[in-house]
């Protein structure tokens, strides 16, 4: 077998192995939770949801659920203990924002300071729609004369065969 043939065979084998379910790397979560899961399913659900809402400040693009940073672990413990202690979600989020600011929340609160942030998508959509409408209008004003339209564009379009 030629060198190229061997390489091809190896690549095929690799492809097959990675596709076979038994051989692919097990999809384990990266975070190892040292604590046992909360007993109460409702509490566990709240915990799981809250740790996805809180930003890890050490590694800012991760929620504390996914982070192994010591601070993230401490914050998870804090949230867990507060849930067990009977705090509401609101109280837990307030506790964290009082210390770390709104930045810890992945969903920024709706306050006058964040109006622009929340409304930006709508504003951009409206602005884009307005521009679109203007362009359509200006096109519509032009005479729909085929010859004139073609003469405006002396270069043939890319996909026309020469």
């Amino acid at each position: 077998m030629s060198m190229r043939g061997i390489l091809m065979a190896l690549m095929l084998l690799g492809l097959l192995l990675s596709a076979a379910p038994g051989w692919s790397a097990p999809h384990t979560p990266l975070t190892v939770e040292a604590l046992s899961p909360l007993e109460d399913p409702a509490q566990r659900a709240r915990y799981e949801r809250l740790i996805r809402e809180i930003r890890c400040l050490v590694c800012q693009n991760e929620p504390i659920a996914d982070s192994n940073a010591p601070l993230a672990r401490d914050l998870r413990r804090e949230i867990r203990e507060r849930i067990e202690g009977g705090s509401t979600d609101r109280e837990i989020l307030d506790f964290l924002t009082a210390r770390y600011g709104d930045f810890v929340l992945y969903r920024p609160p709706f306050t006058p300071r964040t109006w622009l942030l929340w409304f930006a998508p709508i504003l951009l959509l409206l602005g884009g729609g307005w521009v679109f409408w203007r362009v359509l209008r200006s096109r519509a004003d032009k005479p729909l004369d085929d010859d004139e339209a073609w003469s405006e564009d002396p270069e043939p379009a890319e996909d026309t065969p020469r």
Binding site: L57, V58, P70, L71, D74, L75, R99, Y100, G101, F103
Partner: protein
């Protein structure tokens, strides 16, 4: 006329946003605790675990610093010499919060590099640090005489930071007190 200006104007505005964003450090998170009373704590001291250090020990009527440090923290090693200098100059008392550290390592660190702290509280499980909104080390809090947090510096203190951020604020606090 305006239609020829609109696009460049928009571009320049965007460029402005990007330029500002480029020179801002996204890892600096402003603390909501500024101008708030410092969170209460009472923790064992590093040198003598039998004794405790509490917030009331920090509210001495004079401004003080609380420096969050650990031996695993590179920035702390960087700024340590500066802290020793500040402490020697007697400009302001420095208290320490040893954060999630190994006691033996922390003691050896102070022995080898000098001890700039009036006293060091040991926050083994990081609860007090969370209460203070600490998210990295080093962090240095400036407290006024009444135990209100007036400023927090994130990252190592060097001569430039000291002169730019701390000295004027300390002077201002002292003026306000008198």
């Amino acid at each position: 006329m305006w239609r020829y200006l609109a696009a460049p104007a928009l571009f320049i505005v965007l460029l402005g946003f990007f330029l500002v964003g480029l020179f801002r450090d996204p890892t600096l998170v402003p603390s909501p605790l500024i101008n708030q009373p410092a969170p209460q704590f009472e923790l064992p001291q590093l040198l003598d675990p039998e004794r405790t250090l509490a917030l009331s020990d920090l509210a001495t009527g004079e401004p003080v610093l609380l420096n969050v440090w650990a031996t695993w923290c590179v920035g702390c090693r960087q700024e340590h010499g500066m802290l020793v200098d500040i402490s020697r100059s007697g400009e302001i008392p420095i208290f320490g919060l040893n954060w999630k550290d190994d006691r033996t390592a922390a003691l050896r660190w102070l022995e080898r590099l000098g001890d700039p702290y009036v006293a060091v509280a040991v926050d083994d499980d990081g609860r007090v640090a969370i209460d203070w909104g600490v998210y990295g080390s080093p962090e240095t809090f400036l407290l006024d005489g009444q135990g209100i947090i007036r400023y927090k510096h994130i990252g190592p203190i060097d001569q430039a930071v000291w002169e730019r951020e701390f000295r004027p604020r300390i002077a201002q606090l002292r003026q306000g007190d008198s």
